[in-house]
């Protein structure tokens, strides 16, 4: 399945719009990791504990959105975006969303 941030896909024609698809997750690391991260923030630089947390949440939200698109038999998700907000300290909330569409090869593309 094609996932693109653009509204159109070069070489393809959108023949059907199936509507919004989205995936959401809120993930946290364990408290010991949070303690480790506190010391990292004191010293500065990258905090791998939180990089990992955000990466895990991003992949899970993306997979949930793709599962929804698969259920609709979509060929692609266009206008894809990630959004984030804070619902709890030391937790990553990520929403992945886009528009599921059906495609046809553009004979002129």
């Amino acid at each position: 399945m094609i996932v693109a941030t653009t509204d159109n896909l070069p070489g393809y024609e959108i023949v059907e719009c199936l509507g919004l698809v989205r995936g959401t997750t809120v993930r946290a690391r364990n408290m010991l990791r949070d303690v480790g991260a506190i010391f990292r923030t004191i010293a500065g630089g990258e905090v791998p504990e939180y990089t990992k947390l955000v990466a895990e949440a991003r992949e899970q939200a993306l997979d949930r959105m793709l599962a929804e698109a698969h259920e609709l038999n979509a060929d692609a998700v266009v206008g894809f975006r990630f959004a984030t907000s804070e619902v709890a300290k030391a937790a990553a909330e990520i929403v992945a969303y886009g528009t599921a569409v059906r495609l046809r090869r553009d004979p002129l593309g």
């Binding site: 791998p48 990089t51 990992k52 992949e59 899970q60």
Partner: protein
């Protein structure tokens, strides 16, 4: 170069494409430039910190300090919490109701922690995202 990078205005682009139709050499030049741009992206520098993280993780001094830090911190925190709870619960000057309520809070929090840890341990093997690093 500006054409291959998509930096021309629509009018400039149309004019350039008209030239492309009649100048095969120019087309080859554009193709080469695009291939070079793709190659340059693939050759983007690797994470410079990766080898340093691995070296640090294997360093005996770093591992020893980390192990000592966690064990010492854990013993200290748990010991202090236990001691504080013991002193509080055995303090005759505090009413039985107050001591009972504090004990209920501690036991309740402990029970909730146990359920959360149990749930995580049970579901951990089925969590495909735990190996995502970045």
């Amino acid at each position: 170069m500006a054409y291959a990078d998509g930096e021309l205005s629509p009018a400039e682009r149309a004019a350039f494409e008209a030239r492309l139709a009649h100048e095969p050499g120019l087309g080859r030049e554009v193709a080469q430039h695009r291939a070079l741009a793709v190659l340059a992206r693939r050759l983007a520098p690797l994470e410079p910190l990766d080898h340093e993280w691995r070296r640090l993780a294997a360093d005996p001094m770093q591992r020893g300090a980390l192990g000592f830090g966690w064990i010492s911190l854990g013993i200290g925190v748990l010991g202090l919490a236990g001691l504080a709870l013991w002193r509080f619960e055995t303090n005759g000057e505090i009413s039985l109701i107050e001591r009972g309520l504090v004990l209920a809070v501690v036991l309740g929090a402990g029970a909730l922690l146990v359920t959360a840890v149990r749930a995580r341990v049970r579901t951990l093997p089925f969590d495909p995202y735990r190996n995502v690093e970045r």
